[in-house]
Amino acid sequence: MQHITTYSTISGNAASKDGTVLFEEQSLSPQEFLLSLYKYLQVDYPKYYKMDNLCKLGFLATEILLQNRNVAEEYGKAGAGVVLSNANASLDADIAYFETVKNIPSPAQFVYTLPNIVIGEISIRHGLKGENAFFVSEDFDAAWLEFYVNDLFKRKTIDCCIAGWVDFLGGSYKAVLYLVENRSTERSLPWKTEHINKIYELANGKVNG
């Protein structure tokens, strides 16, 4: 039986872990907020500055999720998977890249015009080489996420999974990540649709209104 052993959320200019707000700054734009959060977390990772907004959001949500954890060491590099989803794919980066096409197309922006690049950035940062997938759907689909991640565990392709929702478009964004493991703890919750949805709803603010 898989369990959610920890979770992180970033939305409405607040970042939380396991339901506790770690950092909040309401007066900033989404981009400014993410930069402030990066500094607050004291992450020294110069590549962060190159990333598009979607990657920055997913990167920071994972930094919070995996604080004091090294899943690549605990489960082996191939033992930890990443399964993410969102509504707007890489549209935020696509629009930024399209702006450059009018002059000279930017290779540095082009490389972010796929939503699964955020999985790549997370994997590079944390040394993960396990199974991964990115799904695009209009709304958060907890039942599908439960099924897909469970299937990976059943097939024994992974022993641990970072799963959830990472969406950024213009001024709207939301990240909800779950660490799913094959063990329970005092505070863990079963990897079931109702718990996945409950945690998702905890994140204040909504992408897509």
Binding site: Y48, Y49, K50, S106, P107, A108
Partner: protein
């Protein structure tokens, strides 16, 4: 040279879309790639375009880029030595 390095920092931020960085965040001798600013081969393409667009300089070979793009100072030195003279 100081003004050229300041211009380069601003242009690198703009060309590479490093919106969260300020020119003063980039050191004159800070490595631009890997452990320094974290740039990679895709960004090298952007820097080649920058040299062509802003300074009308074409690198003679890809290998040359490794030494030219080591830091802002090495870029500025290369530009100073190779920029076409205007009449």
């Amino acid at each position: 040279m100081e003004k050229l390095m300041a211009d380069l920092k601003r242009q690198i931020i703009e060309q590479l879309n490093l919106k969260d960085l300020k020119p003063e965040d980039i050191g004159d001798d800070q490595p631009l790639f890997v452990e320094g600013l974290g740039l990679d081969s895709i960004d090298a393409l952007e820097l080649i375009v920058l040299l062509q667009q802003e300074y009308k300089i074409k690198l003679a070979s890809a290998e040359e880029g490794q030494s030219v793009f080591r830091s802002v100072r090495t870029m500025a030195q290369y530009i100073t030595e190779h920029q076409p003279k205007t009449v």
